[in-house]
Amino acid sequence: MDMAKLIEFRVNLLKERSSLLKHSVELVRGLKEAAIAVGQEIVKMTSNANSGHLGGSLSCVDILVALYFHQLNHNPRNPSWPGRDRFVLSKGHAAPALYGTLALSGCFPREELKTFRDIDSRLQGHPDNKKTPGVEISTGSLGQGLAVAVGMALGFKLAGKNNQVYALVGDGELDEGEIWEAAMFASHHKIVNITVLVDRNHGQNDGRTEEVMSIEPLAAKWASFGWKVFEVDGHNIKNILNVLDRSMENRSKPTVIIAQTVKGKGISFVEGNDDYHAKPLPKELVAQAIAELGKR
């Protein structure tokens, strides 16, 4: 499936969703192409803006694409459709990944990505729900998005609705106490319509997570907070789709998927390089980066 078709699919989602529910080879290939395109947009956006978080945006592209191009029940032509599933980007600094995904899935024109971080732009440095179509909640101050997602899930539960809530958190972000407050709240109040994805890229601002602040044993931590835990290779789209499916079966607990990822995925000189946490590429490396991403 080519990009254009994939986007068309998103737009006509409500009509056509069932035809693509199986993870066909075609679908997975289409999603990979979409992920490549979003990755390239991230490089361009951050380089254009001469700022922004490159590494942690690239590490979560495959997850975001799997969510927005397949998993989420949403309508990009009507991003505020009440029946939609919700996605919270708790690690708000990965805004470029979210904007790229939203634009390519049809929420707003791809052209607009050029305005990222500019004056008068709808695309702020960190997600702003009052400015950007498709952004559910303002984030940027780390550690807060999970609580919001839990509150959304609680709202749907109270209202007897089936909407699912997804949240993406950074592994460094897990240092924040509020994450664990929210984790406790969700299991205590038996909120099961929530899926958290941990972008386990092993890096944070000051370096490797286990050097800055140890968070292992991570799966055991979540399990001990009453969550059902899955693990997945966060760059294998087929596996991501499969784990999302499996995680939906027989829900009796809030669910977390620990996605093993690589910061700066797809660009040889950015991968695992902590210098590119909050830095764009120098202009002269952009073409090479885009070419490398194209070969993913």
Partner: protein, 321 residues
């Protein structure tokens, strides 16, 4: 205009809140209440007993409580969140600022035990900065009801209003100084006493002290206008500018630091006004409080009607002409 400061009716604003919350909960099924292990203190326990399915204890985790409230608001519920003011505005400041208000969400934060008059728990629990913290956030609304009656009206108005609101309540039992009939409009202050010699602009528990001071001043031939500035943000500029013009001297009174609260808001608004009246501020003078009975604290920290009378004379002496 009539007020009943000699009314024997004493009630804390938090008690009134607990009662009206149940009333509103009966009328509106989309009200949900969150609390952080202080349901008795905040009087949300009444709601919890009546509507257990719409009440959520967050445990001692105020930051998460604010976030969950934000999420609930996005799904169409109206969350009312309660804890002590020191924790609502202090501990969870970033969550209130960045998640709730930045996202423009319809969350009502009702904070109890505000000010130095929360009493014996002492300065760790006495929030004398919360008005400042909340009013500095763009798009936030800040309300400080003067008594139990006004608390009930304020909560109703707050639920009808769409957007984030901070309501500041207190612990002590205080007289009812407002009346049944006068409507409560967010951002529209009330004149409780007429007078043209000076204006005393007060909020919360200090409205009672201001009225008492005005009575004493009248007996000495000084007619003070008493304004109940129940909404700190948006501030009622019309009533303020009229007071400045017509009375030419202003005294503010609040159970809050003199930095950043009602007094500061009044001064900011008057900064560019010509002629600018002299302004005196009654409040906690940039110090931490201590344990004690509210009345003793009011006396020791210069918040009593006697302090208002004294300051009124000083500000009057600065009045031009």
């Amino acid at each position: 205009m009539k007020n009943t400061i000699n009314s024997p009716q004493l009630m804390s604003t938090r008690d009134a809140y607990g009662q009206v919350l149940v009333e509103i909960g009966k009328e509106q099924k989309n009200i949900v209440v969150l609390n952080a292990d202080l349901s008795q203190s905040t009087r949300t326990s009444l709601f919890a007993e009546t509507f257990p399915e719409r009440f959520f204890n967050a445990g001692i985790a105020e930051q998460n409580m604010m976030g969950v409230a934000a999420g609930l608001a996005t799904t169409g519920f109206i969350p009312v969140v309660s804890t002590l003011a020191i924790f609502a505005a202090g501990r969870a400041y970033d969550q209130v600022r960045n998640t709730i208000v930045h996202s423009g969400l319809n969350v009502k934060i009702v904070a109890t035990h505000s000010g130095i008059t929360m009493g014996k728990d002492g300065s760790s629990h006495q929030s004398i900065e919360d008005i400042a913290l909340m009013r500095v956030i763009p798009d936030m609304t800040v309300i400080v009801p003067a008594d139990a009656l006004e608390t009930k009206k304020a909560l109703r108005a707050t639920i009808e209003y769409k957007g984030p609101v901070y309501i500041r309540l207190g612990r002590p039992e205080i007289p009812v100084v407002t009346d049944e009939e006068s409507p409560f409009v967010i951002g529209k202050a009330d004149i409780l006493r007429k007078g043209n010699d000076l204006s005393i602009i007060a909020c919360g528990i200090m409205v009672f002290q201001a009225l008492k001071a005005a009575d004493v001043l009248v007996s000495q031939g000084i007619k003070a206008r008493v304004i109940n500035m129940h909404t700190i943000k948006p501030l009622d500029l019309e009533i303020l500018f009229n007071a400045a013009k017509e009375t030419g001297a202003i005294l503010t009174a609040e159970d809050h630091s003199i930095i950043g609260g009602l007094g500061s808001a009044v001064l900011e608004a008057l900064a560019c006004k010509e002629p600018r009246p002299p302004v005196y501020r009654i409040g906690v003078r940039d110090v931490f409080g201590e344990s004690g009975e509210p009345d003793d604290l009011i006396r020791k920290y210069g918040l009593s009607w006697k302090d208002i009378v004294k300051a009124a004379k000083e500000v009057l002496s600065l009045k031009e002409g």
